[in-house]
Amino acid sequence: MKRESGAFPIAGSYFVLLLFAFFMGFPIVWMVFNSLKTHDEVFTNIWGPPDVPQWINYPRAWEQANVGILFRNSLIVAGSSVVLITLLAALAAYGISKIRFRGNGVLFILFIIAMLVPQQILIVPLYRLMKSLGIINTHLSLIFPYVAGGLPLAIFILTTYFRGIPDDIVEAARIDGCSNIRILWNIVLPVSWPAISAVIIFEFLETWNEFFLALVFIQKIDLRTLPLGIFSFMGRYMIDYSLFFSVLSLSMLPVIIIFLIFQRRFVSGLTAGALVG
């Protein structure tokens, strides 16, 4: 099957695609290979798969890097942030698009403008704010800025989507005596799944992978999130190289697996996030 824009010869296209697939894919494969080697084999057998896969590396890595606690912390932080963002954004987007109170347009523009300022740039004033609130070194010092940083985009995506839902349906429900909360929950949200899943995936990846704020705000070892914990582990222990790769693979595999299952949603979520800035 050859499509309209087939501007290049087929064989050449495959060759270039394979080249890039190797460039993009091999580092990940190499990481997994090395994670199953012995310490010495990392040096002697640079390219190939391990002679005898050392599955024992994984339980060892799990234990030594405290991966369980790191996962738990990241789940707490990313999970609560995503739930709060989605919930608050849905309420706000419904208010802006379906209740249309006075000044909703101004508010909407305020959110959009703020979307353009990444939270990382506000690190210094945020640090000062967390200190005066006394929540530095707690998960709250991450959750609040993550929610504030994620809300504008979420509100933008949901408002745009809600506006596409006919007002007649909402009005009809209102005449029937439905409260606004019930309209939102029973009528608007069920048909907005594409937008909601886009918000969830985009915000989850953002908060799950966030490093800068966590590095500055969290010093307690048992509160560290995954990227922070893995980074400090790598910096501290310089004995067993294959262990590093097992730790890396362990920490990356869950996201990769979830991605492979929900590919379509991931891509539309991340593109939706991009296409609005």
Binding site: L116, P152, F211, L215, I230, V276
Partner: protein
């Protein structure tokens, strides 16, 4: 008199509306709007994070522009990095999108592979690539040995000449798949008729690309460039986990330098002045983006539900 109930109903409607927006607005104002204003105020003070703040006026900005010898270097690095990753990501992203869009067999597998790096954490990617560049057992040096170019073997991240290009390559590895997807969204908007008409007129593949596809993708190219430049000014994770700005400040970027000044040197007011300048740069870039993009309805219901996959 007859208007009274209607005004009341309107007021009630407003109040309900505000209740719906209030929770989001409260968090947003406290943790985003307020820090934005505070950042500006802090930049006029001298503060070490513990003792009293003291007002110093424009002193921080004066030091930044005239005395700090590292700051111009940091700006230069950030701009070099920005140009490098724009060129790299745009060209690779566009090539991949054009190839994948052709409808070859197995294009789904290729798309999946190309989209793996964008979902990974930049911390993990940086740690992984630090091993890839490892002088002893990294695959880059092993590759040069394998093709008989032993002279090129070196410690890529420890050499001031190669460290920044090495980081640029990592960024292209990580993000070009994402820019490919954005280009794919753009390619889908080009109707087959236009291409067919050009074919009938005898335009070759290269000419069709140069005079039809590329101009029609202009707004997508523009948006990709904006996204990449905002990313460049926000670079922190990658540099911090690989080189920490070294060797000899060769890879220090704005945010890594801000982090060093604020949380190692404890010159928080000075760091605020730098971030505030950075904030203005990013804000202007994004504002331009918004105005250009808003005119073409960036996000439609259709695009979300259909996706580009």
């Amino acid at each position: 008199m007859q208007n009274q109930p209607r005004i009341k109903a309107g007021l009630r409607r407003d109040l309900i509306g505000y209740c719906f927006v209030l929770p989001a607005l409260a968090i947003f104002v406290l943790f985003k709007v307020w820090p934005m204003l505070w950042g500006g105020i802090l930049s006029f003070y001298s503060w070490d994070g513990f003792s009293e703040m003291s007002f110093v006026g424009l002193e921080n900005y004066r030091v930044m522009l005239t005395q700090d010898e590292i700051f111009p270097k940091v700006i230069k690095n950030t701009l070099t990095y920005a140009v490098g990753i724009i060129v790299g990501n745009i060209s690779v992203g566009l090539i991949l999108a054009l190839l994948v869009h052709q409808g070859l067999r197995a294009r789904g597998i290729f798309r999946t592979i190309f989209f793996l790096p964008p979902i990974m954490s930049f911390v993990m990617v940086g740690l992984l690539w630090a091993w890839i560049y490892n002088p002893e057992f990294g695959i880059i040096n092993a590759f040069f040995s394998a093709v008989g170019l032993d002279s090129l073997r070196q410690s890529w991240l420890a050499n001031p000449k190669t460290a920044l290009p090495a980081l640029i390559l990592i960024d292209v590895w990580k993000w070009s798949g994402w820019h490919m997807v954005i280009y794919l969204a753009g390619l889908q908007t080009i109707s087959a008729d236009v291409i067919d008409a050009a074919k009938v007129d005898g335009a070759t593949g290269l000419k069709r690309f140069r005079f039809i596809t590329l101009p029609l993708l202009r707004s997508y190219t523009f948006m990709n460039i904006i996204l990449i430049s905002v990313g460049a000014f926000n670079t922190f994770d990658l540099v911090y986990v690989t080189t920490r700005g070294g060797p000899y400040y060769a890879t220090h970027m704005l945010l890594t330098y801000v982090h060093l000044v604020a949380f190692r040197y404890r010159k928080i007011g000075y760091a605020a002045a730098m971030t505030y300048s950075l904030f203005l740069i990013v804000f202007c870039i994004s504002l331009i983006n918004m105005f250009v993009w808003r005119s073409r309805e960036g996000l439609s219901k259709k695009r979300l539900s259909r996706g580009v996959w």
